[in-house]
């Protein structure tokens, strides 16, 4: 059902947990539908230096969260904003079609976290 990469990120998720001193936080989803992702980012000189996540959801949702937090580290905010559902799915060697919409919330949560950072910075 899932690619080896999805299973790897699901069973050994990277960057799990809260980030008390986060510069930006983004939450996407609703547990009534199935999945909720909360992404935390640390930003320095317009670059994402660290990212963490907390996720309620299926295997795909957890793998997507793990992957997005791995991908954004070291990217500028503009580069991070270019991450999409499609690029995340591709990085995971694909997701089952029924999981593309409701579990692939990583890009949306990330974009919200960047927005949150910008608002906090008054930008």
């Amino acid at each position: 059902m899932y690619s080896a990469k999805v299973m790897d990120h699901f069973t050994n998720p990277r960057n799990v947990g809260e980030m008390p001193d986060a510069d930006g936080i983004g939450t996407e989803g609703n547990p009534v539908c199935g999945d909720v992702m909360k992404i935390y980012i640390k930003v320095s000189d317009d670059k994402i230096t660290d990212a963490k996540f907390q996720t309620f959801g299926c295997g795909a949702a957890i793998a997507v969260s793990s992957m997005v937090t791995e991908m954004v580290k070291g990217l500028t905010l503009d580069e991070a904003l270019k991450i999409t559902k499609a690029s995340l799915a591709e990085a995971l060697d694909g997701l089952p079609p029924q999981k593309m919409h409701c579990s692939n919330l990583g890009a949306d949560a990330l974009h919200k976290a960047i927005e949150d950072y910008k608002v906090k910075q008054g930008k």
Binding site: Y2, M7, F10, T11, P13, V16, G17, T27, G29, N30, P31, V32, C33, G34, D35, V36, K38, Q54, T55, F56, G57, C58, G59, A60, A61, I62, Q98, K99, H101, C102, S103
Partner: protein, 398 residues
């Protein structure tokens, strides 16, 4: 890695004696049961012998058994066959909200074809109140179809009480006993039903063999027209090896039922007691009136599919009624019917024990399950509680 199969409600492995009984009918005794020469006669004989033991398992007469290819077919046959045979008397059918899809979707089809259907509610344990059946009756009612036991929450429904109402009013009663036959005693006389669906792979028989019991003298319109097989009520060349397998499996189930029940119940109780020690794990379905090998829960703050995958990674195979684990991405209607809010239904997980489940398996499970819950809660943003979830609804495009 050792694997522990705790999804017996999905299907079961074939019993070795059943396989043994089936084998000759693939190669040596391959005749068509309608043929009048030796191999055909042998096949016919085998089917009739299987019909006897299949009937005996539910205390029916052999001629009251119609073999079908699946429980779903038996349910479709019962609802459509009775609706069409009796539509001159009335066009109202009563089912419950926790029926299997093969009953619910057939009922919906009949609604589109001009029948009226009442979907009865259940209480928080998933049990139907027989008074609700009585209240739902109209002058048009012809058929009541209520599941015997729920595969999702293990609830055993009060069929005897419902049959009293049906008898009093002269109505036809069908029960989908797919999850119960072979797991608890099922006696069509004691239950007082007119039709009953059951399937072989629930009691270590093969897939592709099932049956509909139709009380002697009951009129039913066929689902499949063609030849004279099954008394003209279900056409098509018989699946002889599968029917033989069903007969053998029924014979073993009848012989070993009490032993099987007593054994799995002890192990199941051990599993439930242990699972409920973890905080915010709730049993779904009734604590007492449930299938002996059945344990079902909702685990708060985490999602079912993720649990299934991590359990599978530890060699434990199980099921869930969560939206994410279903292909349709919809929470189980059964869980919603017993009043579980949608966000809690996401944490659904179902464990069903069977003949080869050992105490050692359950000990391993009891050790592993809490670890998996705590691991997923460690990832969840809700580990400390739900925030503002009540009354929330889903707006995500699926």
């Amino acid at each position: 890695m050792k694997t522990i199969y705790l999804d017996h409600v999905a299907t079961n492995p074939l019993h070795p004696e059943v396989l043994e009984a089936m084998l000759p009918y693939f190669r040596e005794l391959y005749g068509n049961p309608l043929s009048i020469y030796e191999p055909g006669l042998k096949a016919r004989e085998a089917i009739e012998k299987a019909r006897e033991s299949t009937a005996a398992l539910i205390n029916a007469k052999p001629k009251e058994i119609i073999f079908t290819a699946s429980g779903a077919e038996a349910n479709n046959f019962a609802l459509k066959g009775i609706a069409y045979a009796n539509q001159n008397k009335g066009k109202h059918i009563i089912v419950s909200k926790i029926e299997h899809h093969s009953v619910l979707n057939t009922a919906r089809f009949l609604e589109k074809s001009g029948f009226a259907v009442t979907y009865l509610p259940v209480d928080k344990y998933g049990l139907i109140n027989p008074e609700d059946v009585e209240k739902a009756l109209t002058k048009e009612t012809i058929l009541i179809s209520i599941i015997h036991a729920s595969p999702e929450i293990g609830a055993i429904e009060p069929i005897v009480e419902i049959s009293r109402i049906a008898k009093q009013k002269g109505l036809i009663l069908h029960t989908d006993a797919v999850a119960s036959v072979g797991n608890i005693p099922v006696d069509v006389q004691a239950l007082g039903v007119d039709l009953l669906s059951f399937t072989a792979h629930q009691f270590y028989g093969p897939k592709g063999a099932a049956a509909l019991y139709v009380r002697e003298g009951g009129r039913i319109v066929p689902l499949i027209y063609g030849g004279i097989q099954e008394g003209g009520r279900r056409a098509g060349t018989e699946n002889v090896p599968a029917i033989v397998g069903m007969g053998k499996a029924a014979e073993l189930a009848k012989r070993d039922l009490q032993k099987r029940m007593d054994r799995v119940k002890v192990l199941r109780d051990k599993l439930i007691t242990n699972a409920l020690k973890t905080e915010k794990v709730l049993l779904t379905g009734p604590p007492e009136k449930r299938l002996p090998g059945h344990a079902s829960f909702v685990v708060e703050y985490i999602e079912g599919e993720a649990m299934l995958l991590l359990l599978a990674a530890k060699g434990i195979y199980s099921a869930s009624g969560s939206a994410c684990s279903s292909k349709a991405l919809k929470a189980s209607p059964v869980l919603i019917s017993i009043g579980i809010p949608a966000h809690l239904a996401q944490g659904s997980v179902v464990f069903t024990l069977g003949e080869e489940t050992t105490e050692e398996d359950i000990n391993y499970f009891n050790e592993t399950f809490p670890q998996i819950i705590s691991r997923l809660r460690g990832i969840s943003p809700y580990a400390k509680g739900w925030e503002g979830m009540e009354g929330s609804s889903c707006t995500v495009q699926k």
